[in-house]
Subunit: 375 residues, 2 copies
């Protein structure tokens, strides 16, 4: 057996937890991941966090008794956790380290009052383009071109909130109608409150090791990671599409796949409803221009042919930035093991994780990771 | 030719530059490094910064026209730049990428009014143990045990400020007497102002590629990186010693050396005078207990048998955290090429870089890197 396996995953509860701290959040994720792996022996750690304070990686690990192993803390915006996963994968694949922990953690509730304040050196942020506004521009373009309707945007929120009813770790869940989603408070036209990810605190972890073919092991079939190219104003696509597409092409090649045809279950970066629509098209899960319809028709719902975000996604499970990518990995691992409870995709064998960090402030995107996992 | 070579280095000026920004600082370092390498084609970037804002890595690179390549921003306290170097080295050595840029950058003058404010979740910081106080405790122990005198501590500052007179990029330089160093304002007893690194802004870069044996190429003989183990209260050593020692043992092994006997020139982490003393002992450059005398007797001065910090070190060149490790690398590259001007160590063939990040707040240290370079 060659390659890299995931031998343990875990997450904290996701939600507003201002009375917690990074140590408490990480403790929940690590306790579960170590229990899942049947060992707490690790050789190195990659930590993903965006707003965690300087030194927080080794400081949190120390508080949990994890010392004396290399710890590298990385920041790649919303993809920080998934890049930590990709780096851990690389370290195991090359034989640099044996068993490697990828830990993502973030406490947003104590860092921001509402949306993330744009960094003042960010040109788009200075123009008022906070993240909801950036995604709203993409959504407005989809509406303008007739590639989606307001109701189709809302259907993504309806679907993912419904999925989250089966996820006890999710921050929000519920049965909403399209009308209720559209009637919720306008955040950045056309994106209403229920179409925006919440302010979340949480942690998630995965432990990677050389594949042995063990019965509960999930194999990493392929991982790809890219940073955006300059936004091509001649491209017909909204920002992010081209980066996700190119990263997916790399990931499918790394996994030995011709495309996404055999993928059974998917977790994508739906920080805003339009994000899921753009991403499902960019990944090739639906034809170009068909992403808007996918949630409304049930194509991407649990029970449909390509379930997307069975966990509830960022919209409903929550989006503690550095933790998100590893929570996506954990969800796909549970799905591929058949441990996803009421949100289980039957007989899932191949799963995909996609995370996108940053907006046009860093061109087409700060970082994108696509991983294909196999049960 | 196998292995990894350094094909280009560059730095900005180091100093208080509050009217600059990270783009301007990085531009200076990258322009020089690309010119040195004779190309600006790179396949991936690791960025080291401690207090740079979220997303600053790709944002700064975008502003300089560097897009479409993977960018990973890492934080490992004062060793961030050197860990970026170690990660770039790993990526080239394993064939993951061809030509890799390691960039370190930091603007301290606009981030802090004086010393770094300890993070409130840091137990030692909450106790008042800011970095000068942490190092002062180590210095006080050396004095208590008779392993150093106040004059020997001061001699490190005298030496490094004198070295910096030959370094046009250094923040401070000058001819001081031991008495003047001791008479400067007390910061944390026994460390006076001139024994503490200044508040600095700067950037530094190195470009790594598969070794070709080219005439100006500097070969990476070995790199090692560690995070601290729990502080052993039974150890006779002050904090940091054991971590530097263990990392050095790894680095010498990676370089195929029995020890530091053949090292011609050294750059170490002298954030405070006691740091250089502890480190020269931990690296094995001087016998245990002899570090205090080394600067005073000229052993570690330019012209002595083991010149330490010919650049002026952190004390005099300055210490923009994320940039420091790569400025150390740049200095050793210049030394091994014979391009170090008035501070040139004659016929230097083997050089060593050591950087230490963090204090007891993360046990014996957050991160330590030791690299052996060969001209």
């Amino acid at each position: 057996m060659t390659g890299v396996g995931i031998v343990g995953v875990g997450t904290s509860h996701f939600g507003r937890q201002p009375d917690e701290d990074l140590v408490g959040l990480a403790s929940a994720a690590l306790t579960e991941a170590f229990g899942d792996a049947g060992t707490d022996e690790i050789d190195a750690v990659w930590v993903g966090t965006v707003f965690g304070p300087a030194g927080c990686g080794p400081r949190v690990l120390r508080a949990l008794g994890i010392t004396g192993v290399p710890v590298i803390t990385i920041e790649t915006a919303c993809a920080s956790g998934t890049v930590a996963f990709a780096e851990a994968h690389e370290a195991v694949q090359t034989g640099r380290y044996g068993r490697v922990l990828a830990l993502g953690m973030e406490q947003m509730s104590t860092a921001f009052d509402g949306a993330i304040s744009p960094e003042p050196t960010d040109p788009e942020g200075r123009s008022g383009l906070a993240m909801p506004a950036l995604y709203a521009m993409a959504a407005a373009r989809y509406l303008h071109l007739g590639m989606a309707t307001p109701e189709q945007l809302a259907a993504v929120s309806v679907k993912n909130h419904a999925h989250a009813r089966h996820n006890p770790r999710a921050q929000y869940a519920g049965v909403y109608t399209v009308e209720e989603v559209l009637a919720s408070r306008m955040i950045a036209d056309p994106l209403t409150l229920l179409q925006c990810c919440p302010t979340s605190d949480g942690a998630a972890a995965a432990i990677l090791a050389p594949a042995t073919g063990g019965p509960r092991e999930i194999r990493v079939r392929g991982v790809a990671s890219r940073t955006g190219r300059p936004w091509n104003h001649r491209s017909g696509h909204v920002w992010g599409h081209d980066l996700v597409r190119d990263t997916a092409v790399d990931a499918y090649a790394a996994a030995g796949l011709d495309g996404p045809g055999d993928i059974d279950v998917v977790e994508v970066h739906d920080a805003f409803t339009i994000g899921e629509i753009v991403t499902t098209e960019a990944l090739g899960l639906v034809p170009p221009g068909e992403g808007g319809k996918a949630a409304a028709t049930g194509l991407t719902a649990l029970g449909g042919p390509v379930p997307v975000n069975p966990s509830g996604g960022l919209l409903s499970r929550g989006h503690p930035l550095g933790a998100t990518g590893l929570a996506q990995v954990a969800e796909i691992v549970w799905q591929l093991r058949g441990e996803a409870g009421g949100r289980q995709v039957p007989d899932a064998r191949l799963g995909l994780v996609e995370t996108m960090g940053g907006g046009v402030s860093v061109l087409d995107g700060n970082a994108c990771v696509v991983a294909v996992l196999e049960g």
